[in-house]
Subunit: 83 residues, 5 copies
């Protein structure tokens, strides 16, 4: 998994019908070298540190037919006060 | 998913018979560091900002036998006027 | 597989229910160029050199339904004294 | 998919028996930053611009048991005269 | 596939029980930019140029339940004398 920080939402009104409803969040991967868009079912918000799983395991998380989703926020990283 | 911008079409007259008919678009990944070719079923055009899913989830989107396609445009990113 | 060194634990109290209980370790990939978070079932500790498998093979290691886990520590690398 | 240019053939007399017979071509990925070896069933030649699909979708293209092949040339890119 | 050169063996006495017995070789990917550990069933030795397949196709090569292995040496590259 990658440690990343949520930057904000991305909206895509025009999309394939198989794309699930829900939040698509832009995140910056630890180190600041790259960004990606991940599906979020945890209500994550801007600035939050999250764990992102990528690849086919993200699609396999969804019940029923697997949607074309390759990045999923699986948890919110606990941060110590002051860190 | 990756945020990318459509550059233009790529044509491949000589191809494996299992490659589906449709548009193959060259896109530049956010940050400008790399380019890839993605299958498009949304009628995306040059300059459009899109969401690209990569890996086996792209092939699994196609009904029937999965074609050898590893990148799929799943949505068009809504852009604010002036952005 | 990647050769990596364990940096420390990562905790995620808020998480998807399908995420398995167990240790999530932050590791630094050989060469120091990148970090990732891997699931650990071997009791690995900080400073330990480990082998990390990534992608869907990590999820497939788990019995039952495959969780959204894309990195797994599969072994601890034997290190010569003094190395 | 990646846009790449064929550099030449690679031969591997000693190989796993599950590796299919056919051409293994070394290609340079667009931008010149990296090279890979892809299986080719289209008779591609040195200097040709090709589309390469990577990952498990390459293995899934083969009929029968999937061989340990993770890169496949799926098409030859049409190039305009003078380009 | 990646073209790589064998550097040496890696030993992991403490490992998951699903990890197969056999050789784990550290290889340097062509260009010298990165290293990885690949499973080897061909008796490859230090200095040898090899073809490495990565991802789930490596695990799928093994008969029976797929082990958590994401890199496999599939062949030894023939090298011309003097090259």
């Amino acid at each position: 998994m990658l440690r990343a920080r949520v930057i904000g939402n991305v909206w895509a009104t025009k999309r394939l019908p198989e794309v699930p409803n829900g939040a698509f969040l832009e995140v910056e991967v630890e180190g600041g070298s790259s960004r990606m868009i991940a599906f979020d079912a945890l209500g994550s918000g801007p600035g939050e540190a999250v764990l992102v799983a990528t690849g086919s395991v993200a699609a396999a998380w969804f019940p029923g037919p697997h949607p074309p989703i390759d990045a999923l926020i699986i948890g919110s990283i606990d941060e110590q006060p002051g860190s």
